[in-house]
Amino acid sequence: MGDLWDAIVEAMRLIVSLDPEVMEIAWRSLWIAAISSGVSFLLISLPLGCLIHFNEFPGKGLVIGLIQTLFSMPAVAVGLIVFVLFSRSGPLGVLDLLFTPAVMIIGQIILVTPVTLGLVISALRGIDKAVPETAVALGASPWQAALVTVREAKFAIVTAYVMGFARAISEVGVSIMVGGNIRGYTRTLTTAISLETSKGAIEFSLALGFILIFIALLVNVVLFQLQHRRVYALWRS
């Protein structure tokens, strides 16, 4: 118990003193997760989710079912696939990206996309069909009617991004397999926690763990604020 308490105190000291190594790892985790979840959300899930939702095609239910199945895709399996693709003998080995932040981002995009895509589709399906029909009746083009629906679903759509970010920043399988946990280059909060714990550096691991929990808390607070502001706006009016 005493050891745990000492570890907590040391962890707090590392955070409060803005220990350069802790901050550098935290910052890298943040920007890698922000880019991967951002690219996944903005460039893939939002447009593809709209395309799937607003169009009828054979096998649509099957596609949505498949996306939902991939929610629970193990990070380590994604890491392995990306590792095989980008290893020297792999089909994308020529790009020489293995053990770089770039390939970590690619891996996280693959991991996060089913979650953000599935949640974007769910968010759009949650909007009454009468909403796009009303827009169409008011003279909207199909594109404008889709935008109205997206706008109506904006809170649930923001949640999709936040969930994607949470999945990206908390994963360890992809980052450790394709990033290699290289100090000062590809080390992130989760890979560092894994390594430092195995070395017995519990204080350092705890400090990183607290930061990770703090980021998760911050994300939830932002999400709550967004939803609360919506409720408050309704109440005020």
């Binding site: 009468a130 909403v131 827009a135 009746a137 008011l138 003279g139 404008q144 109506e152 309704l234 009016s237």
Partner: protein, 243 residues
């Protein structure tokens, strides 16, 4: 030339016919009221006329152009019409922004938009509510916002689907007053569905009786109510059968 013309218009749902062989001619400036019992196909017909749905059979000619197929022509024709649903959906934005929607879809400039929205809110008596979240309005207020949203684009055709259904008498009077003002302007063609025959008779230039997906009779209100063409029309309008 009629403003709206339908030829053999039909619609199906799960292969069941819900609208059969509708031949209709609606002239410019006319107030055409569709009456019929619940489930007769009035909403289905209005949705087809507003080009929201595509018909299973037949064609629709709007101002001389067949608008049954081309997406661009359908959008252009739809932008000359406005449709007020029976249960209006307001978007999660202010009353002002709800009314401004149609103008924004047409890329109207900001100054014109403010002026038109203000004037239309004044017309429907909702100017004091312009900053309110539209989702907090009562049913009658929402219906007035829906009418304002339709009118603000200066449509040539206004399609109204049971605009006073499920409303209290005060809201009915207000909405009928607004529709009355629009009719007096005579610049607009109105197609209104209602199962309230008194309302239909009061407002119509011509009445169409839709029963079981078929347009059984259409003509001036007096003619339809005094000389129903068959038993079904007679039973619905509550007059003696011709046979």
């Amino acid at each position: 030339m009629a403003l709206i013309e339908t030829e053999g218009l039909g619609q199906e749902f799960n292969r069941l016919p819900i609208l059969k062989g509708i031949n209709l001619r609606i002239e410019r400036g006319e107030v055409f009221v569709l009456i019929g019992p619940t489930g007769a196909g009035k909403t289905t017909l209005l949705r087809l006329l507003d080009l929201i749905d595509r018909p299973a059979h037949g064609r629709i000619i709007f101002d001389g152009t067949d608008v049954s197929h081309s997406r661009r022509e359908r959008l252009a024709a739809r932008r000359r019409m406005a449709y007020v649903q029976q249960k209006p959906i307001v978007l999660s934005m202010s009353v002002f922004d709800n009314v401004a929607c149609g103008l924004r879809f047409r890329h109207e400039d900001r100054r014109t938009l403010r002026r038109k929205v203000g004037e239309t809110l004044e017309l429907v008596g909702m100017i004091d509510y312009q900053d309110r979240d539209a989702r907090t309005l009562s049913g009658g207020e929402m219906q007035r916002v829906a009418i304002a949203r339709a009118l603000v684009t200066d449509p040539e055709v206004l399609l109204l689907d049971e605009p006073t259904a499920n409303l209290d008498p005060l809201s009915v009077a207000k909405i009928e007053g607004v529709i009355g003002e629009i009719i007096e302007g005579k610049l607009i063609t109105i197609v209104m569905a209602t199962h309230d025959m008194v309302q239909g008779q009061r407002m119509a230039t011509r009445i169409g009786v839709l029963i079981g997906g078929e347009l059984l009779q259409s003509g001036p209100a007096d003619e339809v109510f005094r000389s129903p063409k068959d038993d079904r029309v007679a039973a619905f309008v509550g007059t003696k059968s011709p046979h």
